[in-house]
């Protein structure tokens, strides 16, 4: 169809006029690199033992979609209000933003989202399977592991029943961690949400060893989350003298509301979270706290921020002092202590300690032992690995004939003793049982591999349930893959906190709330590594009009008929949500 200029016939002016577009040239044939949309895994979500979808949570929080962000946490972790407070947040240690200015304050945003949901009395809507399964599951212990196991298993359709030895649920969260770090109402609100799912918690019901065999027929599986409760002794003369107390019962009495008066110098032996919490509680009750630890301060297993706050509150730490003997003289405890020094390395990489010189003595009005606990009963312990016993990352699954399937989780089996590891073990156990019951034992390992976040070991319930997160690649985005030109330096928010002198007046929570404005600003610092937030850079910078958007600008696709493979879309994607691959040829 040629539309020649008619004037050409009648005058001398010949004007060639174009009458077709360049669309006939399929410039896609020039391409030797092919861009493609591919969302990836953020390092923080991989580092989170609960596999929370942090990059997405921050994206939603930045947009002010607080409820959606909170629900996104709840898909992977039933306890955002607890973990926002007491988790040691390994996510932040792996945050890519750390290499730009400072890590995103992920835990503060988590706590903000949880507190906001509670303030608004939000009811979460969690999408994903809930069709009823025939198998019933009994859960021993209502600590974080048992509660989380019930939460995940209920979501997968299994009827659950929790048996708890003590008079209230919560485990260490209820009877260990002091209220200045985890207020009671916060814990109770999280537990209530689990009960709202229709899960019965039978308190005051300790299970005995016979339960495991009796459970057969009634329960297809038993999840054991009994925690650690038996104190490990110091093994020194005098440790059983009257007035020498265990740390955990002392913390439990505080959580029960007794506030014993304490005065004078108090020794707290140990270096873990228990020791630090005991020492800080003693300081609040009027005592003068001395933490005595046999290794160096940097070897203390307690979380660093806890140690720093304890020091601010006047707690004194004496490192490299091993207990030798305790005696009572004139109503005081005389503690004989052996100074130690570091000599080489232990198998676990910490400094090996050996005695160094003469013993010394210190006098105390009171002594607490807080060197840690172990399983309260031998039958709580996971059996050794064999044909029927599978040791997973954070739980152990025993499939011995004649018994229900037993899953040992929480402190009994996790790689690290922490709340989020208890949640991780519960999720791993729940997914393992689900695969076992629905697809059979032979599919267990493969099924677990499929729901890893990145390279694991953290797992995603959303991926297990076939949610969109499963379409992301397991590639973990590194800082060098972020286009930092699109981000401005901005300092991380500081945690508003009670002053040390205010803290010592009682057991009030010391970390204060942050405002919605601050939370949005902090969430806005997140790179959202690996995720598309529809910034449109790919679309805008395409020189070849080869990126198309759907209704409302949400969906994007590439027109390979014309895309020349220049790679600008992938290079200008701020957050590495695209890849550029060698063209394999047509």
């Amino acid at each position: 169809m040629e539309k020649r200029n008619d004037t050409a016939k009648t005058s001398l002016l010949i004007l060639p006029r174009t009458f077709t577009s360049t669309e006939a040239n399929k410039t896609g044939s020039w391409r030797y690199l092919r861009p493609r949309y591919e969302e990836k895994t953020s390092p923080c979500s991989n580092a989170c033992p609960a596999g929370e979808d942090i990059a997405r949570i921050e994206m939603l929080a930045e947009e002010g979609l607080f409820k959606e962000a909170w629900e996104t946490i709840l898909r992977e972790n039933p306890f955002p209000a607890i973990c926002g407070r007491v988790c040691f947040h390994p996510c932040e240690g792996r945050c890519n933003r750390k290499e730009f200015d400072e890590a995103v304050a992920i835990h503060q945003i988590e706590r903000f989202l949880a507190d906001t949901a509670r303030k608004n009395d939000s009811k979460p809507v969690i999408v994903g399977r809930n069709e009823k399964r025939p198998e019933k599951i009994a859960i021993a212990g209502a600590g974080p592991a048992g509660l989380a196991a019930a939460y995940f298993l209920t979501r997968l359709g299994y009827g659950c029943e929790i048996f708890e030895a003590r008079e209230e649920a919560g485990g260490i969260l209820r009877w260990g961690i002091p209220p200045y770090r985890l207020p009671l109402d916060v814990l109770q609100a999280e537990i209530a949400r689990i009960q709202d799912l229709g899960i019965p918690i039978r308190t005051g019901t300790p299970l005995g060893p016979s339960f495991l065999s009796e459970a057969r027929g009634k329960y297809a599986a038993v999840f054991l989350g009994c925690g650690h409760s038996r104190p490990r002794g110091l093994g020194i003369p005098g440790e059983d003298l009257e007035g020498v107390e265990e740390g955990l019962p002392f913390l439990a009495s505080i959580r029960r509301g007794d506030m014993p008066k304490i005065s004078g110098p108090v020794a707290v032996v140990g270096g873990g979270n228990s020791a630090v919490d005991v020492a800080r509680s003693v300081a609040r009750l009027g005592g003068e706290s001395w933490i005595l630890y046999r290794r160096r301060r940097e070897d203390m297993p307690a979380f660093e921020t806890e140690i720093l706050q304890a020091l601010e509150e006047g707690v004194k730490i004496r490192e490299l002092l091993a207990p030798v003997r305790l005696e009572r003289k004139n109503g005081r405890f005389v503690f004989t202590l052996q100074p130690m020094r570091v000599d080489g390395k232990d198998v676990d990489g910490r400094g090996r300690i050996v005695p160094d010189g003469d013993v010394e003595t210190m006098e105390f009005a009171k002594v607490f032992k807080a060197i840690g606990e172990e399983a309260g009963e031998d039958w709580y312990r996971p059996p050794a690995e064999d044909r029927d016993v599978l040791r997973l990352s954070n739980c152990t699954v025993s499939m011995k004939p004649g018994l229900p399937v037993l899953v040992y989780g929480g402190d009994l089996a996790a790689s690290l003793k922490s709340v989020v590891h208890a949640v991780a073990s519960a999720k791993e156990g729940a997914i393992a049982l689900d695969i076992l019951f629905r697809e059979g034992r032979e599919n267990l390992s493969g099924g677990l591999l499929k729901c890893r976040v990145g390279e694991g070991p953290s797992l995603s319930m959303e991926i297990h349930l076939g949610g969109p997160r499963g379409r992301r690649s397991s590639h973990i985005v590194s800082y060098s893959e972020i286009n930092a030109d699109y981000f401005q330096m901005a300092p991380r928010i500081t945690q508003p906190r009670l002053l040390p002198e205010e803290r010592l007046k009682g057991f009030d929570e010391i970390d204060l709330r942050i405002s919605a404005n601050l939370a949005i600003r902090e969430a806005g610092r997140c790179f959202n590594c690996g995720l598309c937030n529809q910034c449109d850079n790919c679309f805008l910078f395409c020189p070849d009009m080869s990126i198309h958007r759907g209704e409302g600008g949400t969906d994007r696709w590439i027109d390979y008929d014309y895309c020349k493979g220049c790679g600008l879309c992938a290079a200008e994607c701020p957050r590495n949500a695209m890849v550029l691959e060698e063209e394999k040829g047509s």
């Binding site: 577009s21 449109d536 850079n537």
Partner: protein
């Protein structure tokens, strides 16, 4: 990034610009801002080819291909013809390369601007005669390799400051823009659209082919030109009122030069010298913008 521009595209795909061509990106932003009431004058340049071989066109607006040196003159004529028809709505836009602007088209441009012809003149600057195979122009920067400044004969003259030359005409509006800063570019196109008389936009447009860089670096290099102060973003109203639109991070120029094949021969001393020139130009601009006392 959200741009306040039209949803519609005024370019078809299938054009033959090199992969990653900055000039294609620049045109896309311009037309998405101006819309279809535009007649474009296109002196010989890469864009003469990108616009399509007869009988194809990649642009959805009327285009007049003109002789290399006549961008200013042809636009004057088109504007006069439209005025005679009583069409004051249609804008006349000349779209020319740096060769067609800084060099051969300079007298036509200067004449049109001196007469304050009512049109927008856009120079997309890829810093050489790219269409004919990378020959140096007066816009080619100090230090660059081109096929006419090869080997040790790399260009030893400074890049001509075209905006200042137009400012000397007291042009109502002159501005620099850059494909890596689309928001700023779009704002300036709008400002040009809403100004009467002659308007000049100098758009930095990376040429991966001529600059010897990978195509996916095209926008990054353009961004660095601004961040190193090599190509500051500023505008001048009525030839006197200067505004610097973006205060860059002032990265050392080295980083920009190291990434490009056309600068590979430069030594550290050469780069130090270039840094001094860039600093000097920036100080001069700050003074003109009243941000430093002389």
């Amino acid at each position: 990034m959200k741009l306040e521009v039209l949803d519609r595209e005024y370019m078809y795909p299938g054009h033959v610009a090199c992969p990653g061509c900055g000039a294609a990106i620049a045109m896309r932003f311009l037309l998405k801002t101006l819309g279809e009431k535009v007649i474009m004058v296109l002196p010989a340049c890469c864009w003469s080819v990108i616009a399509g071989p007869y009988p194809q066109s990649t642009l959805k607006i009327p285009v007049i291909h003109s002789a290399f040196e006549t961008g200013g003159a042809v636009a004057t004529g088109v504007r006069a013809a439209l005025d005679i028809q009583g069409d004051t709505e249609t804008m006349v836009v000349t779209w020319a390369g740096d060769g067609g602007t800084f060099d051969i088209g300079f007298q036509a441009l200067s004449g049109a601007v001196e007469r304050n012809e009512n049109f927008i003149y856009v120079c997309y600057d890829n810093e050489a005669y790219m269409n004919t195979g990378v020959q140096r122009s007066s816009s080619t920067p100090y230090g660059a390799w081109t096929t006419t400044t090869p080997g040790r004969e790399w260009k030893k003259m400074r890049k001509k400051n075209i905006v200042e030359a137009l400012v000397a005409h007291r042009i109502p509006y002159a501005a620099t823009a850059n494909i890596a800063f689309p928001e700023d570019l779009v704002t300036k196109v709008k400002k040009a659209r809403d100004t009467k008389g002659s308007r000049f936009l100098h758009i930095f447009a990376t040429c991966p082919t001529g600059w010897r860089i990978p195509s996916e670096m095209s926008v990054r290099i353009a961004r660095m030109a601004v961040q190193t102060n090599i190509f500051p973003l500023y505008e001048v109203e009525d030839g006197v009122r200067y505004t610097i639109n973006y205060k860059p991070k002032e990265f050392p120029v080295k980083e920009y030069f190291h990434l490009q094949g056309r600068f590979q021969h430069l030594t550290d001393e050469d780069l130090d010298h270039i840094q001094d020139m860039v600093n000097e130009d920036w100080q001069l601009l700050l003074r003109k913008a009243g941000e430093r006392t002389p």
